[in-house]
């Protein structure tokens, strides 16, 4: 009897031990997240001011200034990529869900998966050749175009996944009213999956907001603020990259604060998608 219970004790102890080990490993895995947050707060907080959001950078050597140019630039680029990328992504997603298992759908699905895995620097290069070279200069157009290519597959796949969850009986209800398939899909099915589709778009935006490589030689940068869609355009990630590697202390501070703001925005986008998905499920 006694022996048995002591063996029980050993088993219990080893259970706890393994559980503790697993928890420790899990925390190790997500520790970088907290370090990043903590470090960004420590380094970036000091530079957080009204001026950061409203002023353009000062020349090297002068104190003060902000990243207003990069913030507006990023907003413009994200706006442009949404305008190009979302309709295309939605169309792809809807085509995939309509064509289901046909050969065209299979091909489209493979292409979209491949597009997801194309390194973003290559997408930048493509946009450079296709937009920057013919337009003879860096522009918001080129940057927005490159980012939209990053967005399309994300929006397409998430839209397809969401539409797959809609039962066939809902499609049939629409068809039985004497409506063509495309009208049923766009006007009757899509409104029912609004939240899910929005989630996909926000996730794509969160991803794109931090993309640096596709912007390096498409939108490039500027330090004056918005000068039109055909002019070089600054963005948070590119400016963070440039300023963080500079020798100017003020600029380096701007880079840290910019990184803090960027992470905060991405964090918020993710939070909103969480709330949206919880509401639909």
């Amino acid at each position: 009897m006694i022996e048995l219970s002591s063996r029980d004790g050993v088993r219990k102890f080893s259970n706890y031990f393994w559980l503790a080990m697993l928890c420790l490993l899990a925390f190790t895995a997500i520790a970088p997240l907290f370090f990043i947050f903590a470090y960004l707060l420590v380094r970036g907080w000091a530079g957080l001011s009204f001026a950061f959001f409203t002023e353009i950078p000062k020349p090297v050597g002068e104190v003060g200034g902000g990243m207003a140019n990069a913030i507006t630039g990023s907003l413009v680029l994200m706006g442009l990529s949404t305008v190009f990328g979302v309709p295309l992504g939605l169309a792809c997603g809807m085509a995939l869900s309509e064509l289901k298992k046909s050969a065209i759908a299979k091909m489209l699905r493979i292409s979209i998966d491949l597009l997801t895995s194309v390194p973003s620097i290559v997408i930048g290069l493509f946009a450079y050749a296709l937009v920057v070279v013919p337009m003879r200069g860096y522009s918001a157009w080129a940057g927005g175009f490159a980012l939209s290519i990053v967005m399309v597959p994300i929006v397409a796949r998430s839209t397809e996944e969401i539409l797959k969850l809609v039962p066939a009986s809902i499609h049939e209800a629409g068809l039985a009213l004497g409506l063509p398939r495309w009208k049923v899909l766009i006007r009757l099915i899509l409104p029912g999956v609004r939240a899910g589709v929005t989630t996909g778009i926000l996730l794509a935006l969160a991803r794109v907001s931090g993309e640096t490589a596709p912007l390096l030689f498409t939108a490039f940068s500027n330090s004056f603020g918005y000068r039109g869609l055909s002019a070089p355009t600054a963005s948070l990630p590119v400016q963070i990259y440039t300023y963080a590697t500079s020798h100017d202390e003020t600029w380096r501070q701007l880079a840290w604060t910019g990184a803090l703001v960027l992470v905060f925005v991405v964090f918020c986008l993710n939070l909103v998608t969480r709330i949206l998905t919880r509401r639909t499920v």
């Binding site: 809609v166 039962p167 009986s169 209800a173 068809l175 039985a176 009213l177 409506l179 009757l188």
Partner: protein, 270 residues
Amino acid sequence: MTEAIQKTVQPIGVATAALETKRLSAWFGDLHVVKDISLTVEKNDVFSLIGPSGCGKSTFIRCLNRLHEETDGARVRGEVLIPGAGKRENIYAQGVDPVSIRRRVGMVFQKPNPFPGLSIFDNVAAGLKLAGVVRRNVLEEIVEISLVQAALWDEVKDKLKKPGTSLSGGQQQRLCIARALAVRPQVLLMDEPTSALDPISTARIEELVMKLRSDVTVLIVTHNMQQAARISNQTAFFLMGELVEVGPTKSIFTKPKDSRTEQYITGRFG
């Protein structure tokens, strides 16, 4: 007046047919599930289809609004005639657009299937709105009439902006009936519309079907013999894809001609 003219032009009986099938067959791939069905449904009939599970009732009525062909591998042969502009028209004739047929032959499904994300009002208005009716007062009027017809108006008139999916199962089914009625079909197909509902909702829908018959011809699939007896004036008995017997409901239930019909309605098989 117009009826009198029609009667002089066409032989009596044909003039009033709301729907006629001629040697209608349907397949899923190689599976022949509806076999050579020929039957006539008169105008303002409530026509019930009975038969054991899997005998092809759903497939048959899904052929009548050309919905069967939307399934992968599905195939149809034969004719379905419905009155069109001035004369009868085969819905499977070459060049006929299934979309225009479905506007004239409506359908209510076994499980309530309101459009998620659309309000009660928009659910009922969907067919009209997407067919190009934009005048708000016209839409409002038809939505109200349809909801009244479907015996749902009193329960929803104060919450037309609420999602259709927020209603109870029985209310959702009546919403789906209102939605089908709003496009003013000549024929309404109902596939076991009350099988998922409680007795009270069932009674309301039965009542509604009996009221509807003055405006629209109803074909209803049911597993409930009492229901068929209560609401229909014509009944067809299907078995393994074939039409065994068709006739006035009373005589099918009291003196069936075929022994298989008798066995089925007395509950000896099926």
